[in-house]
Structure formats: C-alpha cells, structure tokens
C-alpha cells in the first residue's frame, strides 16, 4: 500500500478512464474495463466510469452525464498524441489541465503510457515469464525489444516508446535494448539484423491485445505458432534464438496503480497535499 498526496477528497470525485475501444474488436476495451473494475473495488472514488472513442458510452455523453462535481479524466493511451491532445479535449470540451463546466471541475491527467512506472511493469512481466532462478543469469545476456506501432501521421506517437526504452536501457538489466515498429523504421521484421543476443524478450508496446500484438508482430518476428488460438510455451525457437513474447503493455499486471499514479501526479503538479492510501 502506498501513500500519496492528493488534491481533493477522492471519495467525492469520479474517475473517468478514457480508452480507444473498437467497433470491430471486442478485446480492445478489455483493459479499460478490467482496470476500471480494479479501481472501483478499492472504493477510492465516488464512482469510476469507462468511456471510449469507438464504443459506448462516448467521451462526450460520459462527461455530460456524470453527476459528480469533481472529475478526473485519465486517458488510457500509451502516448500523448492525436487522441489525448485533440480528440478527447474536443469531445469532452476540455480546455486545459483544469476545465470548469458549470458546477463540474474536470481534471485532465496525462496518458498512462507517460508514467515511468510502465517500465517497471515491463520488467515484472518479463520476470514472471521466466523461471525466477534463471532471471539474473539470462537477462544480462538478453535483448529487450519494445515493439510499437509507429506512424508518420503523428511525430509524438513514438515518444513514450523511446521514454521507456531509455529508462530500461539505463537500468542495465539487459545486454541490449531496442525499439522496433510495425509501420516505421526500424521495422520489427528486420530485428535479426540488429539484435545479437541469443535470448530475446519481445514486448508489444500496445494498449490492448488485438491483431497487431497477437498476429502481426509475432508473425513478423518469425514466431510460427499462433498466439490467438492457444497459449504457447516459451521460449520459442526462432532460427536458433530463444524468444519470449509478453502480453501487450496495457494489459500488464499493475496498470491500475499506474492509472492512480497519474491522478496523484496531477494533484501533485497543482501542489495538493492531502493524503490517500491505495
């Protein structure tokens, strides 16, 4: 249990977890639902709401409908890009970190992916993927691959991937740390040209499981077995290299703590000092 300073009595505030969702893929919203429920069960807030760009309830209707006077909005996105900087503010009528809407005060937090603790979740997920006794001997001889989508449409989309690459590299746990992309250079399909280590830990830097994390990235890496149809055992042999492939970052254990820390970080940035434990 951690103790953090916070701005207002959270029990009188609502938390809104704003995710992308999908009209076609049922899995896209799952981490939002699951983390919202985990936080709801902690009974820290008056209420916890899920809201989506591509699903109901929509961003706009959610903010209109919540009766609370104090509302925290946490974007469940890995980067601060088009959705967090443009779409959510436009849909919700958010004008800055704090927006007064009639009797409501809306506090707009930073995207979950910007929290440095995400790097810790990645390490914890890798440690869970391998035998504990093997961890110290193998990791120092391993390569970490952060695999992100990448897009030329938004220059900011890569920033948090490199933020965590930088943090993880500085920790010195892995022999090599790399970033690869689906739609930009360096592409994940060319990973063998850059990576020397025999042991590989690949981390899909995506907010939810879907075709990119389940199908596209493993296939481009040379993992022959399908992750979607059944669980597979690790490591997988890819041309003489041993590959472990983790869950998508947004679905990792402990993400609910990251969400709460984004609220704490918001409060701290405005000099609030009250205490709450979670």
């Amino acid at each position: 249990m951690s103790s953090f300073p916070h701005a207002i009595d959270w029990s009188k505030a609502s938390l809104v977890l704003a995710g992308h969702g999908s009209l076609y893929n049922s899995e896209a919203a799952l981490p939002v639902y699951i983390n919202a429920e985990k936080i709801r069960n902690k009974k820290l807030f008056e209420n916890v709401y899920e809201t989506f760009w591509k699903e109901e309830p929509s961003f706009h209707q959610t903010l209109l409908s919540i009766p609370s006077s104090f509302i925290y909005v946490v974007p469940f996105f890995l980067s601060h890009g088009f959705f967090t900087a443009k779409v959510i503010p436009a849909e919700m009528g958010i004008e800055g970190p704090m927006t007064r809407m009639g009797k409501k005060m809306v506090h707009y937090c930073r995207a979950v992916g910007e929290n440095p603790r995400v790097s810790e979740l990645i390490i914890e997920a890798i440690n869970r993927a391998i035998d504990f006794k093997m961890a110290s001997s193998i990791l120092s001889e391993s390569a970490l691959l952060l695999v992100s989508h990448g897009t030329k449409k938004n220059v900011h989309s890569k920033e948090t991937t490199y933020l965590h690459w930088n943090i993880l590299q500085k920790k010195g746990i892995f022999k090599e740390c790399h970033v690869f992309f689906l739609e930009e250079e360096p592409r994940i399909s060319s990973w063998k040209e850059y990576v020397r280590s025999k042991y590989i830990f690949a981390v899909p830097f995506f907010i939810s499981e879907g075709d990119h994390s389940y199908v596209d990235v493993p296939k481009l890496m040379g993992i022959k077995k399908s992750l979607r149809t059944s669980p597979i055992s690790y490591p997988q042999d890819v041309e003489g290299r041993y590959v472990w492939y983790t869950k998508a970052v947004g679905t990792m254990e402990g993400m609910e703590q990251v969400i709460l820390e984004q609220v704490v970080a918001f409060d701290e940035s405005f000099g609030k000092v009250a205490k709450v434990a979670f």
Partner: protein
C-alpha cells in the same frame, strides 16, 4: 435529492416486475432477459465486470458494439442486489440509461443535435459534415430503426419504442456506431457518384 435517491424513490413507487429494454427486473432484485424465466438454470453472473463482458457478444459469439441492439443474450441472471446494485447493473448494460431518463424528466440533460456532434469532429468523422442531414436520415433508417431499442430524441423523425417498458431507453446523441455508419455511407455515395 441525488440520482440514486431519485431511483430509490421511484423503485419504491414502482415495484417489480419492471421492464427496461430487453431486461426484466424481479423482486429481490434480480435482472435477466425478459424472454427467460427466472430460475436456477440461468447462469448467475456475479460481478458488474462479468455483466459488462458477458453481454458484449451475441448468441453466435459475435461482438455486439451497439449496447441497446436488439437480441441481448439469454440464459443469464444477475442478483440479488439492492437498489444501488440494480442501478449500476442497468447502467452497465445500457450505459447511462437511468441517468438520462431521470435527467430528461428533471430537464437537466437533453438531446444533442447531430450538427453539434459533427461540428466538434476533428478527425475521420469530419467528412460527415458535408452531407450531415442526408447521412443522418439514412443512418437513422438503416441503423436506429432496425437495430436499436433506444428512442431517438435528437433526430427530427419520431421513433416508436420497440418494447413495452417501465422506463424507456432514450438516445440523446449520435453514438460512435452511428458516426461510423454515416462515414461509410458518405464514402459509398461519393464512390458511386465518381464512377
């Protein structure tokens, strides 16, 4: 009086059986598909998360993005819960259904015009603005009237409720599926015209 207090009062004046959308509420309170009989053979869902995730699919196992789409799964029940648990269960299945109905009655919430919804678009749905009225009319006919249980209050044409209800499901604004459908219709139309 806050929303939950209003709900508690309304429930005390309107005892079960109650009907909302395709749901039936029985004494206790239990909530289930109104086509089912409340008995031990129904799968008992134990949390709001279960309820939300279980009802994301239709009977063929396909994803069901429109929450008020006709054909909600059968064979489940949720309860027993108190008035508060019942409120959250209904809103988990039909987001903001009670909030909107009570909000409308109290005139603290109202429909949002399609022009306003489209006017704030900055991304892929911006194109709808070019043919907003035409696309809205067509999408209401193809999507809302055919699939959705909600009574559309933001579009000019009056729509009859599709199910007898204690509390009607109301639609106050074009939903994400509506925007997606309208956008597809726009591109279909422009492609047809350019041929």
């Amino acid at each position: 009086m806050n929303l939950l207090e209003k709900w508690q009062k309304w429930l005390s004046e309107n005892p079960p059986p109650l009907y909302i959308g395709e749901l039936q509420i029985a004494e206790g309170y239990w909530i289930y598909n109104r086509k089912d009989q409340l008995n031990d053979s129904l799968l008992c869902l134990t949390s709001l998360l279960d309820l939300k995730l279980y009802l994301r699919q239709d009977e063929r196992g396909h994803y069901r993005p429109l929450k008020a789409e006709m054909g909600i799964l059968r064979g489940w029940k949720y309860g027993p819960v108190d008035f508060k648990g019942l409120f959250y269960a209904i809103e988990a299945i039909y987001p903001f259904a009670l909030t909107h109905w009570f909000g409308l009655k109290a005139r603290i919430i109202g429909p949002v015009s399609f022009q306003k919804t489209i006017g704030r678009q900055i991304g892929m749905y911006k194109v709808i603005e070019k043919e907003a009225d035409f696309l809205a009319d067509r999408t209401v006919e193809a999507l809302c009237r055919v699939k959705c249980l909600r009574q559309n209050l933001w579009h000019g044409s009056y729509s009859e409720p599709k199910e007898e209800a204690s509390i009607p499901l109301v639609c106050l604004e074009a939903c994400p599926l509506f925007l997606e459908h309208s956008r597809k219709l726009f591109f279909k139309k422009t492609t047809t015209l350019s041929k």
